[in-house]
């Protein structure tokens, strides 16, 4: 008997009891859809992480100052992070491509009768490299503007939208707190950063301008910066760069050997990745739980197949009486179980697609269904059909025709 005939017999038998067939498949349907949904959420999260890492532009360390070692011998001024450290790192640490100092402030931007409160970032042209940002229009700072602390500003896309709408802001003068600054550039829109803060609501000015005109110069540490960013080249290990920077900074800041670092270094990529790892473990766990429900679904199939064999003993006897060989009976019930699982698997896949689609549309989640997991779960559910269908099928095929026919 060929496989098509078998599937026809199985399908006929299953459609005779549609409701029971669907209930039997429920375990498999839920199992398969749960596995695919879990794995898709995991893959979606991974894709988001990859996108974030990509946006960061690779290996970036952030160095925060201000962890003054209490009770230390040195003065506070020595333990402060300064913009000069950026040049030191660039010159002395192998593998550093760019080092950028930042001074942060906040100010009211006024253009015409519109005003907008924004974060002001004082820095050097290197921020384009370490932050992996691009200009939408205009230009960066010139050396002269940097040196003299010129009143020029590069604005983020949100500020541009809020103050200028569709008109071109380049060359316009905008009031920044107490002074007027000329807009020389507009940044490309970037969307929220890894923590959800908006990166487009920012105005960038030369470091010296911000320090002298917005934050004011601290008497005790005139060169202090809010933080530094260091970008390492792709060929060098960030752990090595971090180590070198640590010893360079300790040396420069004259930190005694028995004292802790007066600064903190954070590897952004590492932070994102470790968060992603936690997420991945969680997702794997959920997928494992979902797989258990697949097995439970398989046991449900076995249970129903056992009932079905008992219930249909007379049918089995009749089929044997009219010429069915033991293998025909075995195959019939096996194919029934496989069909139940296979159809259940297909429905499960359909549900998984539906659920992930609505998660994307209505809950703004990123999910990625990769074809492998679809085929694997379908194959796996067919395998469950074989595994859990075999025993009931074998039991059916071992019946003596006369005993099966006489069964009450």
């Amino acid at each position: 008997m060929n496989i098509f005939k078998l599937f026809k017999i199985a399908l006929t038998a299953l459609t005779l009891n549609v409701m029971r067939s669907i209930l039997t498949m429920l375990g498999i349907i839920i199992g398969v859809s749960a596995v695919i949904i879990m794995v898709s959420i995991g893959a979606g999260a991974q894709q988001e992480v990859d996108a974030q890492l990509e946006a960061m532009g690779g290996n970036v360390l952030i160095i925060f100052g201000g962890w003054n070692n209490r009770g230390g011998g040195g003065t506070a001024a020595v333990a402060t992070l300064e913009d000069g450290h950026a040049n030191l790192m660039l010159e002395q640490v192998y593998g550093v491509e760019a080092a950028t100092p930042y001074v942060l402030g906040k100010s009211q931007l006024i253009y015409g009768n519109l005003n907008w409160s924004a974060d002001i970032m004082g820095t050097t042209n290197d921020f384009f490299v370490t932050k992996n940002w691009d200009l939408e229009s205009g230009r960066g700072f010139t050396a002269a503007e940097m040196n003299s602390g010129e009143k020029v500003v590069i604005i983020g896309s949100i500020i541009k939208d809020e103050l200028f709408g569709a008109s071109d802001p380049i060359g316009q003068s905008v009031r920044v707190g107490t002074f007027n600054a000329m807009i020389i550039g507009v940044l490309k829109a970037k969307g929220p950063d890894t923590r959800g803060d908006d990166q487009d609501d920012v105005a960038v000015m030369p470091l010296k301008t911000v320090r002298t005109k917005i934050t004011g110069i601290s008497k005790s540490s005139p060169n202090s910066v809010s933080y530094l960013e260091v970008k390492g080249s792709d060929t060098v290990s960030m752990a090595y760069v971090e180590e070198e920077i640590t010893s360079l900074l300790r040396q420069t800041m004259k930190v005694a050997d028995d004292k802790e670092d007066p600064f903190r270094i954070r590897d952004l990529a590492e932070t994102v990745e470790s968060r992603a790892e936690t997420q991945a473990i969680f997702n794997t766990l959920l997928a494992a739980v979902a797989s258990v429900s697949l097995v439970v679904g398989g046991i449900g199939i076995m249970n129903i197949m056992m009932v079905s064999v008992t219930e249909r003993t007379r049918e089995i006897g009749l089929r044997m009486a009219i010429g069915a060989k033991p293998d025909d009976i075995l195959n019939q019930f096996l194919v029934e179980a496989i069909t139940l699982c296979g159809v259940g698997g297909l429905i499960g896949i359909g549900i998984a697609f539906g659920v992930t689609y609505s998660m994307e549309t209505y809950f703004d989640m990123v999910t990625v269904i990769n074809p492998e997991i679809v085929f694997i779960s379908l194959g796996f559910s067919a395998l469950i059909g074989v595994f859990f269908g075999y025993y009931p099928a074998l039991k059916a095929s071992r019946l003596q025709p006369i005993d099966a026919l006489r069964y009450e």
Partner: protein
Amino acid sequence: MGEQTLWALDGIDTIIEPGEFVAVMGPSGSGKSTYMNMIGCLDVVTEGQVYIDGSEVSSFQPDELATIRNEKIGFVFQQFNLLARTTAEENVKLPLLYSQIPESEWSERTLKCLEQVDLGPRADHQPSQLSGGQQQRVAIARALVNDPVMILADEPTGALDTHTTEEIMALFQELNEKGTTIILVTHEPEVAAYAKRQLIFRDGHLVSDELTANRVSLDIDNSSLVSNEQ
């Protein structure tokens, strides 16, 4: 508490020639069904031999027995044993599924057999939509579909009323006239009277093997009783 050995059949030696119409009679428990099941390869003999069409089937393996049942034997049961929620046509077609007969012939054969039992127009009816007599005729069509050398019927009229019994018996007679060998188990002498030969069992022994005296013959078209003195 040991089980007692009971010989359901003992010392039976019968030959049934092609074209015969045999009724198997006897009281309950006398071994009639056992005898039929041996011939029909549904049960195996503990001792002795069974030959069908020249082959000693008592030495066959389960697969070979299935082939014999499929190709040489058509069964008709007291309880019809039709598949529920399955049309008459699908029920009749069932033995073809397990046969070597090419699929292209299935429909034609099925419909031909349904017509032979006068159920052509009922091909797409399910058993629950048919009367007992009609269901038994579907079962007979199913027994005929593989062109068997013999039809084995264990109390085929046991679940039917007198009128329907006559209908079914007329059908058997007609089939026998056309050359099909028929072996039939029955309690009722009136039913046995349609057969050409009668075997009577008692306690597992064959006590009588005679040709039917006063054989009854029915005209299938108007179901009128015709006495046929032999």
